[in-house]
Symmetry: C2
Subunit: 230 residues, 2 copies
Amino acid sequence: MTAAFYQNEVKFFVSVDCIILGFNNSELNVLLYKRNFEPLQGQWSLMGGFIKSGESIGEAASRVLTECSGIDNLFMEQVGAYGDVTRDLGERVISVAYYSLVNMNDFNPELLKEHNAEWTKLSEVPDLIFDHNQMITDTLARLKRKAATRPVGFNLLPEKFTLPQLQSLYEAIYQTPLDKRNFRKKLNSMDILEKLDEKDKKSSKRGAFYYMFNKEKYDRLLDQGFYFSL
Amino acid sequence: MTAAFYQNEVKFFVSVDCIILGFNNSELNVLLYKRNFEPLQGQWSLMGGFIKSGESIGEAASRVLTECSGIDNLFMEQVGAYGDVTRDLGERVISVAYYSLVNMNDFNPELLKEHNAEWTKLSEVPDLIFDHNQMITDTLARLKRKAATRPVGFNLLPEKFTLPQLQSLYEAIYQTPLDKRNFRKKLNSMDILEKLDEKDKKSSKRGAFYYMFNKEKYDRLLDQGFYFSL
DNA sequence: GCAAAAGTGTTCAGGCTACACCCATGA
DNA sequence: TCATGGGTGTAGCCTGAACACTTTTGC
């Protein structure tokens, strides 16, 4: 029963490419690295790798993420499969893209160096190999939709964050300025944040209160038919 | 340069599976067929096929669609890649799902018979092979989002359709009843439909006016910053 | 003439947008 | 004391939701 049923069909290399997004200084960043193997050695590329036998697509993506971050269970979601015949210049490779939203501070700088990896502002992404620029474009469109309807943006921030930080994150995602009062009013009305007593004094003299996303509260509200929307 | 760069990596069978949706009698239907080859011969399945060398993923999906419909250029969009290690009982196969929205009347019944294919109401879909039920579930979630923000629903109707038809289509997609007056008001305000003089008298004595979707008008409005929303 | 589906407006509430000033603090 | 970013409330508008009766016509 484990016999070769599909003998007459063709097999393909299948890889995953990870669009790892972070947020810093009011800007979204993506993790890129310089390829250290042919073809196109020395060119900039997304983090990726081939799927191994015995490994699901998601497991492969997860492995790539862990390898370059040292962190398990990062937020991650499939973008889609890319399979143009000539997309890879080496041989034919079908690739499945995943995007991941991470807190840049959690990344070990030495591990990044080891992988030739660098955080790059989205506004300064160079020409990447193959269809990797397209994958980023598709991811950003998806992120806009997703962040508007699900509380995924918090993955891009430290556990404790301020409202000005959160707002500038959403401004970066939507690529549009938001009204401070309206933004805060909306968040307040959702009642999914915990206000701390502590303040962040790094970016202003007065200091801004820290908040935390309360997942338990959010899940409870979901059950009651609540929908996140920002 | 066409040398074997990735010699040490594993290759996989890659297939496409098509979730072909039609609309009839106030119900969404999906095209299923009885597998005529092992493994799981005789079981119900989505329409699908292996990707051939020299063929992109989209081309493979398009080929499968044309093969069973006799129609080119059907509306089609990728749902995602499915790659659990044990998803296929024969051998390991990674599959990319595409959904397609079609006008059931355009399908040649004899061609369907040839392929062992049958239209099945969504409410009556049996247990399918592998993860095909999951693919349908994912497609329906995607369709809800898509149909709300893009005028893709028209692909499920004949070129000429009535407003009661269109409303029942959206009721089927959203799985919820809609208010007749509000629905018509919204459509009217978008100004993307052409009202014909002709009436459809099949479903009532009085008859309902036929309308057509005006793609040119829609595209013009898009340029002016208009967003479809239903 | 009656059954069955098509067609038509108004009202109300809630959410979204626009908008400007005071507060706290470090330098 | 002043420069800098943090924090707060209201009013108008618009959109979405609720809702009931008349029209047409085949039988």
